[in-house]
Structure formats: C-alpha cells, structure tokens
C-alpha cells in the first residue's frame, strides 16, 4: 500500500500539474478536439485530487464524487463531440477562433 505521509503531496502535485496543463491547453490550442481533450485532462486532475483526499481522510466521499464527475464528463463528451461533428459537417475549418459568432 501507499505510504500515506510521503505520497500525499506528490499525488496532489501530479493533480495540480495535470490541471495546469489542461487549463493552458484550453487557453492556447486552436483545435477544438485538442481543447476538448484538455478539458478531460482538467476533469481527471480534479478526480485524482478527489480520490487522494478521500483516501487520506478515510472517507468514501471523494470516490463518490469522482464517479459523479466521470458520469458528467461522459455526458459532456457526447454533447461536445456532437457539436464538433456538426461544425465539421457544415464545411467549416475546425478552429475555435473562427467560431466567434457570439461577439457583438
């Protein structure tokens, strides 16, 4: 089993690292598919943090929340991929900066 005292900060470091990478990816990348994967990365970083805290606090809540996030993420992927597919089908280039009709 994991050594509690030593692995705890490392696990949190990995989670925050994954989250930062995901956030930067969302902000920087232009391909919607990659942006999407980065969002998944952020979600899973949060999952890791949940599970870590749950384990160290001797509580099942963290895992329950992680499961919930997985479900929501699955639903979100369905919607998101459907949108991306539709945009692609309409013959437009897959570039988030081109999808800016919501400006004034």
């Amino acid at each position: 089993m994991l050594d509690t005292q030593q692995t705890f900060p490392w696990l949190l470091a990995v989670a925050s690292g994954m989250f930062t990478i995901g956030a930067l990816g969302v902000l920087i990348r232009r391909n919607p598919l990659v942006v999407f994967m980065c969002i998944e990365l952020m979600l899973n970083a949060v999952n890791l943090a949940f599970v870590t805290y749950g384990h160290f606090l001797n509580s099942m809540d963290g895992q329950m929340f992680a499961l919930m996030v997985v479900v929501v993420a699955a639903a979100e992927v369905v919607v998101g991929l459907a949108l991306i597919t539709q945009v692609f089908r309409s013959g437009r280039e897959l570039d988030v900066d081109d999808l800016s009709e919501m400006s004034e």
Binding site: A23, L27, S100, S103, E104
Partner: protein, 666 residues
C-alpha cells in the same frame, strides 16, 4: 356606546323583530343585485325573454318585500316603528378608533322611499321591456337598471353614513352608465361624463362632512343614530362647525339633485334612454338630495344659516329652471327642467324644515313626472326618435291614450285640484308662507314658480298633442303597445289619487296621512315638527296657489293652443333679457365652459404637448439611451473567442482562490 344606543332603538316586542328585519333588508337588497348579476352574466346567452323576466321580476320581488316591510311598520306601535339592524362589522379598528357597521334602518321615511323606488321602479322596468324591444343589448340595459335600484335602496336604507355614501356614489355610477348607454354617440358619452364629474363634486363634499362628523363628535362611529343622538351634545346650535357640515351635506344634495350651482348635468342627462330619464332623472335618484336633508334633519335643525341657504337655493333653482323650461324645444329637456324646478320646491320645503311636506311632493312628483317621461317616451318611440316639439303637434289624434295620460301628468304637474301635484305643492307652499327665511318672500317666488309651471307644462302639452301636425310623419304615429301603456296608466292613476289620499289639505277635513306617518321620524332626537299653519292661512294659500297655477295654464292656452311655434310672437310679450336668459339657460353652460372646461382642456393640452414629451418621455428615453451608450464600452469585452472567456474564467477562479487563501492565512 353604539351598541347601547342600537339596543335602545331596536324593537323588543310588537315592532319588527331583529331577525325579521335582517331577513327583509337582505332580501330587498339582494333581489335587484341578483337581477343585475344574472342579466350581466347570463343575459347575452339566454336571450331577450330571459332578460325581460329577470330584469322586471327581480324588482317585483323587491317590491313585494318592500310591501311586507311597509305593512309590518304600519302594524307596529307609533313608538316602535324604527328598527336598526347590523348585518356585520365592516371596519373595526378597536375601541377608541373608527368603527363602521353595515347597518340599515327600517323606519317610516325609508319605507316611503323604498315604496317609491321599487313601485315606480317596477312600472318603469315593465315599460322598458317595450321601449327597448329593438335594442341590441337589453341585458346591459336591465343589468344597469337593476344595479341602480340596488344602489338606491342601499342609499335610503343605510343607517351608517359610510354605507350611505357608498350607495350615494353607486347611484351616480348607475346614472353614468345609463346616460352613456348609447356609447356610440359622442354627445351621450360627454353627457355621462359631465353628470359623473358634477356628482363627484358632491360626493367629495359628503366625504369631507363625514370626516368632520367623526372629528367633531369624537364618537368614532359613522352610525347615523349615534350621530343624531350625540349631535346636540357635540355641537353648538348655529355654531360654525355644524353649519359647515350642513353646507357640505347640502352641496352633496345639490349635486345629486341638480340644484344651483351644480345643476347643468341634468338636461344633458336626457341623452340616456327615456325610461332612464323617468326612473333616475325624475322619480328617484335626483330626489336623493331631498331625502338626505330630511334624513339629516337633526343637523339641519341646528343651523339656521344652512337651512336658509338650502331654502334659497331650492327656490332659486325652481324659479330659474321654470324660466328655462319655457323656451326649450326638446320634449325631454322641457320635462328635465321641470324636474329641476319641482325638486327645487322640495329642497325649499326641507330647507324651511317642512320635511314631510317635501317628502310628500317627492311622492306625488315621482308619479306624475315618471308618467310625463314615459308618455313622452311613447311619443318619441312612435315618431322614430323625434324629440323636437316644433316638429310635433296634433299627436293626440293618433295616440289618444298616451295623449290623455300626458294631460293627466300635465294637470298634476301644474297643480290643479284635485290632481296630486296640487295637494303636495300647495302644502309645501303653505308652510313657505309662514316659515323660512324672510317669509313670505320665498313664498311669493313660489307663486311665480306656480305660474311658470302652468305655462311650461301646458305649452308642452299643446305643442305636442294639439294643433296641426307639423310633419307628415306624425300621421304614421301608432299608439304604443300595451306593455308600454299599462305602466303609464297606473302612474296616471297614482298622479290622480296620491294627492288627496295622502293628505287632504284642509285641517279638520280628512286626514293628514303623510304627516302622521312621517312626522314621528322628524321628531326624533329632539327634532321639532313645524306646526300646521292656521286654517285661514291654509285656505288662503291654497286659493292663491290654485289661482296662480290656473293663470299659468290660461297663458299657455292663449299662447300655444293653436300650435304657434312662432317663438317671436311669445317672446315679444316678455322682456327681452328674460327670453335670452331662458334660451341660453342662464348662460351657466357657457360660463362653466369658459371658466372651467376650456382652461382645464388648455392646461391638459399644454401638459401633453410640453411636459409629457420633454419630461416624462424624456426620462424614459434617457434611461434607455444612457444604458445603450454605456454598453458601447462593455461590448468590447464580448469578443466571441472562447479562449478569452476561458482566460477570464481562469483568472477569476485563481483570483478567488488567492483571496480565500490570503484570508484564511490571516
């Protein structure tokens, strides 16, 4: 306090039991109201037959209940004839604060009013079935009419000033609705508006009077028995305070009863259907002012000044309206001005303290004036809405019965023995000869009114029914249907017998039925009932009054018998300024138009042209344009790039966490 008093006036035995009185009051009020609601809700669907029956039978039922009330009161002892019942508490602000009960009084005075309202009201409703047969919305008409009967009963039954004012305002509403019944006609809408606004002036005066009563008596109750019982302790006789209250009440009465200076709405109110003119603007509503002053006799007896003012205004209006009636050419307007004149006499009577004489004239007037209006309605109906008397003449040949009834009404109006008007008019003038401010100055004015009444009553009769037909159309006139003739005939019967049955004029001969009936009411709360003038005075005034009336009829016969519509021939025999005053209705409409209506309209137009666009619209538009200018700057943050939104979100989240951490760390 109020309950102790009510218990004192409530009837233990022999009189009406409280439960019975409650049942009767509820029935008499609810029946017409139910008629109004039924006609309004179901009338359009169930059709004309239903409306006719619902409209008239509800009033008939109310009349039957009224008769039960009347005979119960008649059967009770003299001292046990007044019953006040409280149905429920309307406003209760706790002890020491204002308390208002929904309470009603059944006594001799309210019984007389109820009999006239439901009795004459029922006949006019029956007549309306015939008169409105071609109308498109009879349910609307009967709904309004029933509502009026309900409101009027509420007014006369109220034992609480607040309830009285509610009824007072509601009859004004019914009057407004019915004057403007033909709402496609601009003149009708304007007339309805004029009547309503004028009457509201009176309503406001009454409300102020109610406030003054609460303040002055400190009784914290608007119950009429309480007000009357405490008035002598609360107010100094002839004091300024009680005089002010009486003046305000009188102003309310003047507005409702079309007396100077609030009289101009009544002639215009003839825009309504003729049954409305008969019911509201002749028989009942316009006499509410007379009732009000009679009901508040305790207060008016305490102020000589207010009484004198009321008497002078009444007689002045009677004179003025009599002069105006001489020159009017619209058949309904002649009768309207005659109504104004006759109500002036009633107001004069209650002003000098001859309350039962005023109420007596109210009763007989309700009969013969409703009769005149309905008979005139028959003529108008037969001539296809022709109202100009110059275009009539010789109508009697084609409408014999209507002509005969109209003659009965005219004789009663002119006051020729033995018709009803003679007894009531000479009765009140007999009092006027002895009592009142500067007696017998106003009595002499009353004699002039008698002459004028004779002239205008018979001028109208001769112009319409005698002489040669002025247009070909008249020979096509057909006698009215039975549903329109029978009510007129019954009213004619009342115009003949109601006078000598109710009061034989000579003391000692016959009985003063109306005086015996009503005077106990006016003797309540320490009131004084004027003593009958001496036999010699009565005889003399009766003869002089009759002579004056006959003189008027004779003049009318000489001038108008052979249908001489040539106004100049008549005008050449009277001073020119009188002719002008009469033709222009003493210029009151013009004065009010110039002083009140035009400046108001100009001010309104100014507000609309300047204040509204610049300030009101400006403020609204200013808010809008300020916001849209502000949005020009904020809009630039809406780039449409998802990355920008995400960046702002991230910065926000990081900033939030940072603040949290800093706060927790501290």
């Amino acid at each position: 306090m109020s309950h102790a008093l009510l218990a004192a006036t409530a009837i233990p035995q022999n009189g009406m039991s409280t439960d019975k009185a409650k049942t009767l009051v509820i029935l008499v009020l609810v029946l017409p109201l139910a008629g109004a609601l039924l006609n309004a809700a179901l009338g359009p669907r169930l059709g004309r037959r239903f409306v006719n029956y619902a409209g008239t039978l509800s009033i008939l039922a109310s009349l039957i209940v009224t008769l039960v009330v009347f005979f119960t009161i008649l059967g009770a002892d003299q001292s046990l004839r007044s019953t006040t019942v409280t149905l429920w508490t309307y406003i209760d602000l706790g002890p020491g604060n204002l308390n208002v009960d929904v309470s009603f009084t059944l006594d001799q005075l309210s019984a007389v009013m109820m009999l006239v309202i439901t009795g004459v009201g029922f006949l006019i409703h029956v007549y309306s079935v015939g008169y409105m047969e071609h109308d498109a919305t009879p349910h609307r008409f009967f709904s309004y009419m029933n509502l009026f009967i309900f409101s009027m009963l509420l007014l006369v039954l109220a034992a609480n000033l607040l309830i009285l004012i509610v009824g007072w305002a509601m009859v004004g509403l019914a009057s407004y609705l019915l004057i403007g019944y033909y709402y496609e006609r601009r003149s009708a809408v304007l007339a309805a508006r004029k009547a309503f606004i004028t009457q509201v002036i009176g309503d406001i005066a009454m409300v102020v009077a109610a406030f003054m009563l609460v303040l002055g008596l400190g009784a914290h109750s608007l119950s009429l028995p309480v007000i009357f019982a405490t008035a002598h302790d609360g107010f100094a006789v002839n004091g300024a305070y009680v005089t002010a209250i009486c003046m305000l009440l009188a102003l309310g009465a003047f507005a409702k009863s079309a007396q100077f200076p609030l009289h101009t709405w009544l002639p215009d109110a003839m825009e309504g259907p003729t049954p409305v003119s008969a019911l509201i603007h002749a028989a009942t509503m316009v006499t509410a002012g007379v009732y009000l002053i009679a009901r508040f006799h305790t207060l008016f007896d305490m102020s000589v000044l207010a009484q004198g003012m009321v008497a002078c205004v009444g007689m002045g209006t009677a004179l003025m309206a009599g002069v105006i009636a001489l020159s009017q050419i619209d058949i309904k307007r002649v009768i309207a001005f005659s109504t104004m004149s006759q109500i002036g006499l009633m107001i004069f009577a209650v002003g000098i303290g001859a309350y039962s004489a005023g109420m007596f004239h109210f009763i007989t007037h309700a009969f013969f004036k409703a009769l005149l209006f309905l008979a005139a309605g028959n003529v108008i109906h037969a001539l296809h809405d022709e109202q100009d008397v110059r275009l009539m003449g010789g109508v009697e040949r084609f409408m014999t019965n209507t002509g005969r009834y109209f003659l009965v009404g005219s004789v009663a109006l002119a006051g020729i023995i033995p018709f009803a008007g003679y007894y009531s008019k000479e009765d009140l003038l007999g009092f006027g000869a002895v009592y009142g401010p500067g007696a017998p100055a106003l009595y002499i004015a009353g004699l002039v009114v008698n002459v004028l009444t004779g002239i205008y009553a018979f001028r109208l009769y001769f112009l319409v029914f005698h002489g040669e037909p002025q247009t070909a159309r008249i020979s096509d006139a057909k006698e009215a249907r039975r549903v329109m003739l029978v009510p007129v005939a019954l009213l004619a019967l009342g115009s003949v017998v109601s006078g000598f049955l109710l009061q034989f004029p000579l003391p000692g001969i016959g009985k003063n039925v109306i005086g015996d009936w009503l005077n106990p009411v006016f003797a309540q709360y320490g009131g004084t009932v004027l003593a009958e003038p001496s036999t010699a005075t009565v005889l003399l005034t009766q003869l002089i009054g009759l002579a004056a009336s006959l003189l008027g009829v004779g003049l009318a016969r000489q001038w108008f018998f052979f249908h001489s519509p040539d106004a100049e021939v008549v005008a050449s025999r009277v001073p020119r300024f009188l002719t002008l005053l009469s033709l222009h209705r003493f210029y009151f409409d013009d004065i009010y138009d110039a002083v009140l209506v035009r400046p108001s309209l100009a001010a309104a137009r100014g507000v609309r042209r300047v204040i509204e666009p610049r300030y009101i619209d400006g403020a609204v538009r200013g808010v809008g344009s300020a916001l849209s200018e502000l949005s020009v700057d904020f809009r630039t943050y809406q780039t449409g790039f998802i990355r920008d939104y995400a960046a702002i979100m991230t910065i926000g989240a990081v900033g939030f966490v940072a603040i949290m951490v800093l706060l927790v760390a501290r």
